[in-house]
């Protein structure tokens, strides 16, 4: 019982942690969704040599453990003269990592669009940019929503690893409370509860998109 009380006394620390986790994940989404779309367009449209190079880069990023990537960005980049605050280093590594996955998700979703659909757009004189804006991306938004939702939840979880590079996100906060209040369990349980809430919110968003898909696609 006392652990719960202690956690409540430290609620400001938890709120600060949640704020950092959310700002990192949101910032990461704002950057990586457009980057992921651009990357997928590049994987679809760019001339072959460039496309292969880019595909290798994406594969490389996807096989690096996230923790290692965060280390490289936070401890490695200063050697090249680029020193980032923990939060910014966290944002950069989350964004890089997440973009690599989103590129593949979007590319797969592009491939899933019926070929004749795209052909019809070409036959009716839609330009490349209209084709993407009006035909491909709206369909991708609907069909890829569940996978993207999953990816967001993964990103929320990955962000916990950023405590290693001293980002004051939710896991960092729980650890801080646990250490300072000598409460081994409740602060972490509280953090789990808060992570769960965030994931449920994402799930709710995905379910809305899913309903939209059912109305339109049957």
């Amino acid at each position: 019982m006392s652990g719960i009380l202690v956690s409540w006394q430290y609620r400001d620390v938890f709120l600060w942690g949640v704020a950092n986790t959310l700002s990192l994940v949101l910032g990461c989404l704002v950057l990586s969704v457009p980057l992921g779309i651009l990357g997928a367009i590049m994987l679809t449209e760019a001339p072959a040599p460039l496309r292969r190079l880019f595909a290798e880069l994406v594969d490389l990023l996807r096989c690096v453990p996230f923790l290692l990537l965060a280390y490289v960005v936070y401890y490695g980049l200063p050697e090249l003269g680029l020193r980032l605050d923990p939060w910014w280093a966290g944002l950069v590594s989350l964004t890089l990592y997440n973009t690599a996955y989103l590129v593949e998700i979007f590319r797969a979703a592009f491939l899933g669009i019926a070929r004749d659909n795209i052909e019809a757009a070409q036959a009716f004189g839609l330009s490349r940019s209209l084709l993407y804006r009006r035909i491909i991306l709206p369909q991708v938004a609907i069909t890829a929503a569940p996978v993207i939702g999953n990816q967001v939840i993964t990103t929320i979880r990955d962000s916990a690893l950023l405590m290693i590079i001293t980002v004051q996100e939710l896991t960092f906060a729980a650890n801080f409370v646990s250490a300072n209040a000598f409460a081994p369990f409740a602060p972490f349980a509280a953090a789990v509860g808060l992570y769960l809430l965030m994931s449920l919110a994402i799930e709710a968003g995905v379910r809305r998109m899913e309903r939209m898909r059912r109305v339109r696609y049957g």
């Binding site: 019926a114 004749d116 659909n117 052909e119 019809a120 757009a121 070409q122 036959a123 009716f124 004189g125 839609l126 330009s127 490349r128 209209l130 009006r134 035909i135 709206p138 369909q139 609907i142 109305v215 339109r216 696609y217 049957g218």
Partner: protein
């Protein structure tokens, strides 16, 4: 009054896929206001030829002209430069197409499908296009489906939406690629009736089809293709009553 310039002409169109000649030196003029039906056995190159007319397939040689203006290349002949993507897109706005498998955009409503290209490609005001779109849909018997999504429609209804989408562009020519081949038999009639109505209104159409009775009734010109060549160009009466080649006779006898 008939225009002298054909709505579409194909001159010496060839197409090969990896060394295999699918189309061999095809010439064809489609006069404005007429319906041309292209008949022929499967694999004769009918659909490929139709798709060359709006450059969905790039001919290996030959020219396509829409009312005298080349499409796909900026001039005539093999050496003429390919059109840039946006030029080709602009040229395609005067040729609409109806596909065998409808190819409606599933994320847009019926009216959304009809209005999409006029609004976004031609840049016309949406309210105006939608009013016209509703009138077109009413004409093909789908007024009450304007706000439905394509997946809720039957095949025949989908194809009538696809025809409405083509009409909304007010094109110079409409190309039909086997418009009834993917339909259940009882839905073929409703689609053919719509196309027949358009023919009576004097639209210029090129229809690739297996529906012989339809071609006989509706076509002004029948083009018979076999093995990548045009074997015969005739009026329906001459084509069916007095076929010129043995190949044509066998084709008519079998169908």
């Amino acid at each position: 009054m008939a225009e002298l310039e054909p709505a579409i002409s194909a001159r010496g169109v060839c197409k090969d896929f990896g060394g295999f000649e699918v189309l061999r030196d095809i010439d064809l003029d489609v006069a404005t206001g007429t319906t041309t039906c292209i008949l022929g056995p499967s694999g004769s190159g009918k659909s490929t030829f139709l798709r060359c007319l709006n450059w969905l397939e790039e001919p290996s040689a030959g020219d396509i002209l829409i009312q005298g203006k080349p499409i796909g290349r900026t001039g005539l002949g093999r050496d003429a430069k390919r059109m840039a993507r946006n030029e080709l897109a602009a040229a395609r706005t005067s040729i609409a197409m109806v596909f065998q498998h409808f190819a409606l955009w599933p994320h847009l409503t019926v009216l959304g499908n009809v209005a999409e290209a006029p609004v976004h490609v031609l840049g016309r005001p949406r309210h105006e296009v939608e009013a016209e779109g509703r009138a077109i849909l009413a004409r093909v018997g789908l007024a009450e489906k304007a706000d439905a999504y394509p997946h809720t429609l039957s095949g025949g209804q989908k194809q009538r939406v696809a025809i409405s989408r083509a009409l909304a562009m007010k094109p110079k020519v409409i190309l039909f690629d086997e418009p009834t081949s993917a339909l259940d038999p009882e839905m073929v009639g409703e689609v053919l009736a719509v196309i027949r109505g358009l023919a009576q209104d004097g639209l210029t159409m090129v229809v690739v089809t297996h529906e012989m009775a339809f071609a006989r009734k509706v076509a002004d010109t029948i083009v018979f293709m076999d093995a990548g060549r045009v074997r015969e160009v005739a009026t329906p009466h001459d084509f069916f009553a007095n076929p010129q080649s043995e190949r044509t006779k066998r084709f008519i006898a079998r169908s």
